[in-house]
């Protein structure tokens, strides 16, 4: 393995691009903050904070998906992803960063009592409203703040512990006993993350952060739907980074076999997302009960109609048709294109989840959305590149590495 490039040197072009994106994003963000975020017009406020909310939640969740990916593979003792595990680790280092931004935004929204975003913050309205009263044990500022804090801190902490453990695979070759102990320890640590992930991303966090925007409405599919959305976008992000690193001549041990399996995740979870999307939609459409239909009314028949169907085309039809063939999943160019498309599609999905409920009258998609997006993309590129450069690219003494090198689909 002498010829393996272990040290990533950040290309100048990547830095330039990420600084440019952050610059553009920061200008849009600051301009938006002063013209909209702190304006006296509630509509403008909702526009700005809502935009910030869905962007930061989207990016936190898709970066967290990388750690989830690492943890469930570790738990299953799967070896195939060991050759590029450092990319997943690098992406997951963003959870504390984006988590902090999410935390700041959400806590600001709750503390400054923005009840146009979270209706349940309005104590007077809740007192008069039997439905919101019934939910007030869950939907109240104290619980929201505690649970949000816990969620972000523990994702970051358990993720950090996983990454620390992975460093041990850089030190020296492991003998049989050490490798066994290392494996058990990895599984235990990933178990902590997985349990916490199940209690947060796969259940409570989407209820709390996103679904409670429509405080009266609920859907039992919602958390899984959000999870599927963030997971498939997370897999796409991982694929984009893997392809980028391959293009730059790194990651010699990963090849089209690994790409094939990643693209299978993209394909399969696009369909899984559609399954949940459709299950949520069809039951509400079929029952046709006013308090449930209210969520879809303006999305399907109102101003969000184009977004609603664009969402379905990008996130279901495109992956289904384009990624179905085996040769497509092994084609680096096509997978890169599809990964970017899927990430964009799920960004749009998060857009309509949040803004579709906040601004029902018109679609506001414009400079602010793309400005904030460019800020997050810039930060993501820069931080992931730095995290990649800070560690060897291959965990070269990992007991499962060989299995990953000879991986064959």
């Amino acid at each position: 393995m002498a010829s393996i490039k272990e040290q990533f040197e950040i290309p100048g072009k990547l830095k330039t691009w990420s600084y440019a994106l952050i610059g553009v994003g920061a200008v849009a963000l600051l301009y938006g903050m002063f013209t909209k975020g702190f304006s006296t017009d509630e509509h403008e406020q909702v526009h700005f904070w809502g935009t910030l909310m869905y962007n930061t939640i989207f990016w936190t969740l898709i970066c967290n998906a990388s750690m989830f990916f690492l943890c469930f593979n570790t738990m299953a003792q799967a070896a195939w992803m060991q050759s590029f595990r450092r990319i997943a680790e690098a992406i997951s280092t963003l959870v504390p960063v984006f988590g902090a931004i999410t935390f700041a935004v959400l806590i600001y929204v709750v503390v400054s009592d923005k009840h146009h975003i979270y209706h349940w913050l309005d104590a007077e309205a809740v007192a008069k409203d039997p439905i919101l009263k019934g939910k007030s044990g869950f939907l109240n500022p104290t619980f929201f703040i505690i649970w949000t804090t816990l969620a972000i801190v523990l994702w970051s902490y358990f993720g950090y512990r996983m990454r620390q453990l992975s460093n041990e695979a850089d030190v020296a070759p492991m003998d049989n006993e050490t490798a066994k102990a290392f494996n058990i320890k990895s599984m235990v640590r990933s178990g902590f993350f997985l349990v916490w992930f199940g209690l947060t991303v796969a259940s409570t966090i989407p209820w709390l952060w996103l679904m409670s925007i429509d405080a009266h409405w609920y859907s039992t599919m919602y958390s899984w739907y959000t999870f599927a959305s963030s997971f498939v976008a997370g897999m796409s992000l991982l694929a984009v980074w893997l392809i980028y690193m391959k293009n730059k001549g790194y990651m010699e041990l990963s090849n089209s076999e690994h790409l094939h399996d990643l693209a299978k995740y993209m394909f399969a979870f696009s369909i899984f997302w559609t399954y949940l999307w459709f299950s949520q939609y069809m039951l509400i459409w079929y029952a046709n009960i006013p308090e449930e239909v209210v969520y879809f009314k303006h999305r399907v028949q109102g101003p969000y109609k184009p977004i609603f169907f664009l969402n379905l085309i990008i996130n279901f039809l495109a992956p289904l048709i384009i990624l179905m063939k085996r040769s497509a999943k092994r084609n680096f160019t096509l997978v890169a294109f599809m990964a970017v498309l899927i990430m964009f599609g799920h960004w749009i999905d998060f857009y309509q989840m949040v803004m579709g409920s906040l601004m029902k009258e018109h679609v506001s998609l414009g400079w602010l959305d793309f400005g904030v997006l460019s800020f997050f993309v810039g930060v993501m590129i820069l931080m992931v590149a730095r995290a990649l450069a800070s560690k060897p690219l291959i965990a070269k003494y990992h007991p499962f590495l060989k299995e990953s090198v000879i991986h064959h689909t």
Binding site: F278, Y281, M282, W285, Y286, N288, M324, R326, H408
Partner: protein
Amino acid sequence: MAQKKFVVGCFDDEAVLFPAVKQVRAAGYKIKDVYTPFAVHGLDHALGMRETSLHTAGFIYGITGTTTAISCISWIFTKDWPLNIGGKPHFALPAWIPIIFELTVLFAAVGMVLTFCYLCQLAPGVKKHRFHNRATDDLFVMVIECSDKTNTDDLKALLSSNGALETDVQIAEDGWWFGTYDNDNDNLYNNKQLA
């Protein structure tokens, strides 16, 4: 349906089998098949077999199922016997999606199973020659088809030098037939110590 001559080599390790397959193919012999106790990853590749077209067949069956479901349900509910169900439109696509999906899966699954059986020539009563009974237990059995020019002794020597534990020449039915096997299981675990 013809009797042919085959040279059979038995291996007890995949790690030996793979280089042997490579050597035999490089020497220009035609491998009929390798019978293994379990699915060996990458062996189809090593044997130079073409990619299966089973998935293409599956796609076509699936599309057929989708088409059948859509045309059937839409004809029934809009033309043949329109019913007012809960005030829904007659052409109620969302309600049909689960059935369309199920029919797609059903057609694809059943079609692929039948196609698989056809391609592998599997059916009740269909019999094929067993080159070595332990292929279903613990031996990897490579079967090489002989032509008129094949020197069986050379080939046997080649197999042995590549790690075959046992080699022999068999004249056997190439295809399949209906019927029963003769009671030829007597020499299954014969006295030769193989492994």
